[in-house]
Symmetry: C2
Subunit: 258 residues, 2 copies
Amino acid sequence: MNIVLLGSGKVATHLGRAFKMAGQTIVQVWSRNIEHANELADTVASEAISDIADINRNADLYIIAVKDSAIRDLALTLGLDDKLIVHTSGSTSIQALEGVSSHIGVFYPLQTFSKNRAVDFRQIPIAIEATNPEDLTAIRAIADRLSEKVTELSSAQRKALHVAAVFACNFTNHLMAISQDLLKAENLDFDLIRPLIAETAEKVQLNDPEAVQTGPAVREENEIILSHLEALKERPDLQELYRLLSQSIVNLHKQSRG
Amino acid sequence: MNIVLLGSGKVATHLGRAFKMAGQTIVQVWSRNIEHANELADTVASEAISDIADINRNADLYIIAVKDSAIRDLALTLGLDDKLIVHTSGSTSIQALEGVSSHIGVFYPLQTFSKNRAVDFRQIPIAIEATNPEDLTAIRAIADRLSEKVTELSSAQRKALHVAAVFACNFTNHLMAISQDLLKAENLDFDLIRPLIAETAEKVQLNDPEAVQTGPAVREENEIILSHLEALKERPDLQELYRLLSQSIVNLHKQSRG
């Protein structure tokens, strides 16, 4: 399987490495910035290009892994109207590729990629989509080589998955950053909290998060909540977050109790 | 070491088990509700009482593990003015025990306890505090038997730690519950997100959360943010959270970039 990878960011990098490890050939890496293209091309033993005119027109699959707002324009400049072209975005509909080629699809690996951290791709869910059954079969065959967790999702479902991931991953990471900030202000090390974070993530691997909710809000311990708001008095932004999240916890659990 | 445990909730239960495993003797478990006292007393081979008048007056340590608002009243009814009495609360000052005994302190294990989940107590940070050095030494000796991570913190530091833990643990867990809710609405399984949650927690074990922030907000991808807000249009409460958390991410990272 010969693949052209368009993009050089985190998703492109992790996908490139994963394909390489799965024995596939990345024939080209394109990036607007040739240095970025070179860097990724080096790690996946590929050719680097920065001019779309130089694109290899005989590959089996073209993967567009650029920022969402650039997908359609880039796809239209390819001029590959009978090749299989996929994008890798959670929140962009397959419609962004409409009219680009007669073989289009989506290949969305759901993971929080950091450039310098290896991930076990076999465990990463990949959401796939295509407009015709043959393309879906082809995309599934490719995805199956990388991951044990390949699922067909509609564009609407994929977007819901992305939003859910933003809450469960991006926003939670930010709350941890806030947590570290609060500790720093009292000269406390984030290591004090790290075991707690590990346990929090561990608990929801086998349980529903709602069922293992702990803390002052779910117990409606208003005195503690007020004393925490008081402790945050010099951080009105964090007070607002604290208040809103506590209220959200109370509401969810009231609703569940009926 | 003979210990009387006052309380039968999650903290009392986990502490009781941990002391038992560390070879200490829980001579009594007190709870207002005798059935709760019995349940915990059974698992730690102890006597259950529900009347404070029956309290064993010869123990070495009295641990008050009840809800914050009940600590002081319970402590005052003990009538043990020369015994070592500690509470286990993150957000309650040591002052709550002032005048109760000449030997008072705090013994706060920082963990998210679920009743049915065993935890490795050796890795749980325990924040300790006392008003005089001898009591601090005694409390430290006890804490060292349970955990490798014993730290002396002032009441103000301990409260900051508790607030930080609410952000890093309670609030993050709630965001995971929201995430599951959003998936359910599209008939998607939470298993899709679980590997991502594990990776999110794993990443911050060795990195600062701020340094590994991912997602649309930190990249200031406003089109994606707007499309997510649109996707949440039937959940104004979640829209508000999404907006506020995204703004908070943008602000933090603007600030860091100077």
